[in-house]
Symmetry: C2
Subunit: 416 residues, 2 copies
């Protein structure tokens, strides 16, 4: 049996433990939902204050230059790049994941349509269990292009190699599944897609900041992701898009707004795309939300991602092991792979009363979240969670389940 003292011993040896003090975590809470909304770095408040009070209030319009507002998407992109295995000048932080996915997928389809070898391809491959917005965006794009694109959704990752055949124009996959926490084989699937002549777009929503990502090494084509989960950018903080240098000259998308122009202040009436990554921009960005993203990225600049991954895997192993020890006999099903190579940084268990149990957990200060059907998700963010937190969370879960201390009739309202 693992004891709480064992966990405390792990905490004493934890090389990342010092980061916890940089976060403003409420007292009495074990926060296991950093995979949905990352906790607040203490410095974010000061940064917001600086933007609102000084940059907006005092410097007003001059801040576009003086405070570098106009350069923020690229400056933050350069800071984010090393976390996803990308180069400077290949990433911008901007818009939403949905909008960026639209740009990337549109660009991929256009590149294929302009290549005589692939011009006839009309299939987009994804997973049915992908995060809904990814699937909806692909549906929206396919429906609006008048050339008969269809979406081929597989029911399990094992079907992907067969589904990605020589009829496929583009593959769009989420690296870590939002429900199961399963990690896909980015290098393998990318190589397979390329062997079939397809381009591949990766959604890193649940992997950027959660584990080392190596886009360039995998030779991926495009990627998008969000900054408000593991990267602790703040609620709904702008997302990112990665376009490697080798694709930038051919990267075109229909959201050709003025921030993507080669010379936005010339105010020309003809759109001409910026030669570099700025062509992935569209309109004016929400500066206060955007500026806070930098605080989380600056913390990651001091983080050893290999150490973060080690801690993440020890934590998720610990959580799975403790739940299975302490909640034995309860109708819990592990949705997350046990194999490290297939695991992101969250763990999901299905329970017939998953919604009610999660509400009871939250009521007792253990905050995870719930996803249909019956799935309780627990996110493990190595920067601000301790091993004792993991022990305490399972202790609470075991108590709730053993005493059936949840409202079995609870019905679900809107929860994210």
């Amino acid at each position: 049996m693992t004891t709480r003292d064992d966990c405390l011993a792990l905490d004493r040896a934890d090389e990342l433990a010092h980061f916890k003090q940089e976060f403003a975590l409420p007292a009495g809470i074990v926060y296991l939902d950093g995979n949905s909304l990352g906790a607040r770095p203490k410095a974010a408040l000061q940064r917001a204050r600086q933007v609102v009070e000084q940059e907006w209030g005092e410097d007003l319009i001059r801040s576009w230059n003086k405070a570098g507002w106009f350069e923020l998407p690229g400056r933050l992109g350069d800071k984010l790049a090393p976390l996803i295995g990308a180069q400077p000048g290949e990433v911008v932080v901007t818009d939403t994941t949905s909008v960026n996915l639209f740009k990337a997928l549109a660009a991929a389809l256009r590149m294929q349509a302009e290549n005589p070898a692939t011009a006839q391809r009309r299939v987009i491959v994804s997973e049915r269990s992908n995060f809904p917005t990814d699937v909806y965006i692909a549906q929206g794009l396919a429906q609006w292009l008048d050339s008969g694109y269809t979406l081929r959704l597989v029911d399990a990752p094992e079907e992907l190699p067969q589904a990605i055949d020589a009829s496929v124009a583009a593959v769009m996959l989420t690296h870590v599944n939002y429900r199961s926490g399963r990690l896909l084989d980015m290098p393998g699937l990318t190589a397979h897609a390329h062997a079939q002549g397809a381009l591949i777009v990766w959604d890193l929503a649940h992997s950027a900041g959660a584990l080392p990502v190596e886009l360039e090494q995998a030779n991926a084509d495009f990627a998008v992701g969000c900054t408000y989960k593991y990267l602790n950018g703040g609620p709904g903080a702008p997302a990112f898009i990665w376009v490697p240098k080798r694709h930038q000259a051919r990267f075109g998308h229909p959201l050709s707004g003025w921030w993507g122009h080669a010379n936005p202040f010339a105010m020309s009436s003809e759109f001409a795309p910026h030669p570099g990554i700025a062509r992935a921009l569209c309109g004016t960005q929400p500066i206060t939300s955007l500026a806070m993203v930098e605080v989380g990225l600056d913390m990651y600049a001091r983080t050893d991602m290999a150490a973060l991954r080690r801690k993440s895997l020890v934590m998720t192993d610990l959580f799975i092991g403790l739940v299975e020890e302490r909640c034995a006999g309860q109708p819990l099903t592990l949705d997350t792979p046990r194999e490290h190579g297939l695991r992101g940084s969250h763990v999901s268990f299905t329970h017939p009363q998953g919604y009610a149990v999660m509400q009871a957990l939250i009521g007792r200060g253990v905050i995870g979240d719930y996803r249909e059907p019956g799935i309780m998700r627990f996110g493990f963010t190595p920067l601000y969670l301790s091993y004792a937190d993991v022990w305490d969370a399972v202790d609470t879960l075991a108590d709730i389940l053993q005493r059936q201390a949840y409202d079995a009739g609870a019905t679900r309202s809107a929860v994210t």
Copy 2:
């Protein structure tokens, strides 16, 4: 001759003067760029602090429900609606003006394509002098739809009636021109477009909060606009989109992200649009920037828009008159119509050394902005400007021009 004392007398009689104390304006500055970035309401800092410290930091993921984050786009939309002559349930605050324009224009083209009477139409009409992003978005959309859409750009508003003929699918116009400040005839042009079987999209970037707008009364089809200018929402604050109830059931656009779904938390793999205005949403919104928009809207809820318009016109008349008195003989050309019915709430003068003169003005605390070619823009925001401010601005301009106290060789860097 109008004297500064005359202006002070106007200030004493100004029924809107009390609003100025609600803004955090830096000392020694006359801020005539609220048409580009509105000044900061004092309460915005407290609102940002509440979102960052309490809602994000303390309540974490629970704020999606507890703080109503998920409902913010619609709640703010309902507060914005009366300012543009719209109904509750017809406006959401979300994304950027560029992205919203893409949605509205795409929806308009699709509606026309699905109507047998207009299905063959392939022309979009706009003005060459429209704000560049509007034109670029139309270019991007036209290029990506494979059905041969073309953009017909007129060189002067007088050409619009002729250009809007029975070949036109959609008209996309900005109500107040960003350079000249010229106000278009919304009811007349809307009626003309409809008589020709075209749909019309209005960009209210320079009119929402600047003057009374009556979308419903004009029977307009769609509108977009921004909240960071006259509405004082903060730098790059999210934009808005209006879809009247009569068009909502047919309003479809390709950016079908999960926030536009009828039941986003069912996590279905099939997109089904929300029955109401929420179908105009796409992805997760930047909450901190979004929340601050409410502060400006709450101030407008206490503003008599007819009084605001009266003050705006007196101020712009005063400015034009004083410039012509005090700068007589200088090579200044008024770009803004003298007729009230054709004027928004900013005034532009062209000067051969416009850029250098504007830099000199800014150096002396009179902040306007510059637009190519040679255009100095001065925005008049009745909520926080006094008539004495107008006098002081012209006094400074007259002094700079008379003494040629500007660097005639100044070259332009990025300025917004």
